[in-house]
Amino acid sequence: MNRVVITGIGIYSCIGKNMDEVRTSLFKGKSGIGFDLIRKEMGFRSGLTGVIEKPELKGKLDRRSRIMLAEQGEYAYLATLEALAKAKMDEDYLEHNEVGVLYGNDSSAKSVIEATDILREKKDTVLIGSGSVFQSMNSTVTMNLATIFKLKGVNFTISAACASGSHAIGMGYFMIKHGLQNSIICGGAQELNYHSMGSFDALSAFSICESNPGAASRPFDQKRDGLVPSGGAATVILESYESAKRRGAPILAEVIGYGFSSNGGHISQPNVDGPVRSLEMAIKDANVKSNEIDYINAHATSTPIGDMNEAKAIDKVFGDSKPWVSSTKSMTGHECWMAGASEIVYSMLMMEEAFVAPNINFETPDEDSAKLRIAEKTVDKKIDMFLSNSFGFGGTNSSLIVKKFLN
């Protein structure tokens, strides 16, 4: 079995368009949440959303590639560019080595809706254009990344709701560990538009703290009233230790555990048992003790029940060891299919710079979050090992453990 290391990371998010910007935002506790008037005009209950700058790819990418990319594909392209540069994998390397791509994505609503709008208006399919079908499929991100970067390894998309990005990394870890592939570009991408969020808003799951967008996402806080949708993309390049050593690649960290489970319960409301089993499986896979984990990047999305049950699960598994806990969703909002991957990137930046990013807006704990050691402000802390949770609709759970690489 191979050791699995991380040799490249990249990000395009509402708190920064690259690693440097994101690092600064995390340290300062900067929110990326804003208010979108269009959503209110469309009849949304909540106009809150992560705010992200639209990429300008003309000049960076040829016309044909640009036409095929959906919004989240553009984010994934930029995040992957950054990660490949960090991993020192150039065009030549990708041509002569089998590098795979396993990315998390679970929708491409805007592209589908725009195509249907044209169909309804023009009653003609050709007028939908040549890029639409490639943008509209769930696998739009992986099919495009594989084409743009001319990848030759494993190639598919992982769809697991809000655990997509985490499971994508888990799957990459599993394949490399068992020798099926030397390196895999993993990640998660999420479109950030009203088309994809309307039916989610229908569930009254979003915060309506519209008068103060930066304070709306408040995981674990007593006054939390719902999540804030967000988006972007994050890339995490996994590689076998042997491959990384052989080519002199930078080794940023090591993935040592992956756990998963399904709740077998309600489709949207999590329970405690499912997450507990996911946590325990990851810890067992990593062959570590729970008290070795310095920091937990919680899934906590700022929903009343979700945060409560995760707090119970963390307390059950970690009890007295009380690792630092924070949910970066307090700053970024819920990045959905991207979250599992972006939260690995955020945690790695913390591990690199020895700090725990704050769980902003955490003012008053409730009965369950009071039992956790939640970082309400930035904490100076050397992190040698962290765990990241991601849970999704359908009761899908994923937990990843990453540690500082030691030779």
Binding site: D62, R63, R64, I67, K122, D124, V126, L127, G129, S130, G131
Partner: protein
């Protein structure tokens, strides 16, 4: 919503479409060539200097079958008519293309 009354929007939309279709009746061949070149350069990101009347359309613009779909879209957007797939069979050079567009808009 451009106007206040729902019917007014439909009226304005219908009038705009009529204008689109009928403006081209007054375009001379040179105007059509200029307009076509402009959208080919813009859409396919090719240098205008490469466009010559006797040059091969598909080769010069490096068009594949996917691009032909987009060409149909741009023609509809710019000249208000829908190209049929079989129409492309007779079009080899840029001049063939200009003639084809002219015949559809000035008819």
């Amino acid at each position: 919503m451009i106007g206040n009354h729902p019917n007014e929007d439909e009226y304005l939309m219908a009038y705009s479409m009529w204008q689109l279709k009928n403006n081209y009746k007054h375009m001379n061949p040179e105007d059509i060539i200029n307009k076509v070149n402009a959208f080919l350069v813009e859409e396919f990101e090719v240098e205008e200097s490469k466009i010559e009347p006797n040059a091969n359309l598909m080769e010069t613009l490096e068009l594949d079958s996917l691009d032909l779909v987009d060409l149909v879209v741009i023609i509809e957007k710019n000249f208000g008519f829908k190209v049929k797939g079989e129409d492309f069979i007779g079009i080899k050079t840029f001049q063939d293309f200009y003639d084809y567009i002219s015949s559809h808009v000035t008819a």
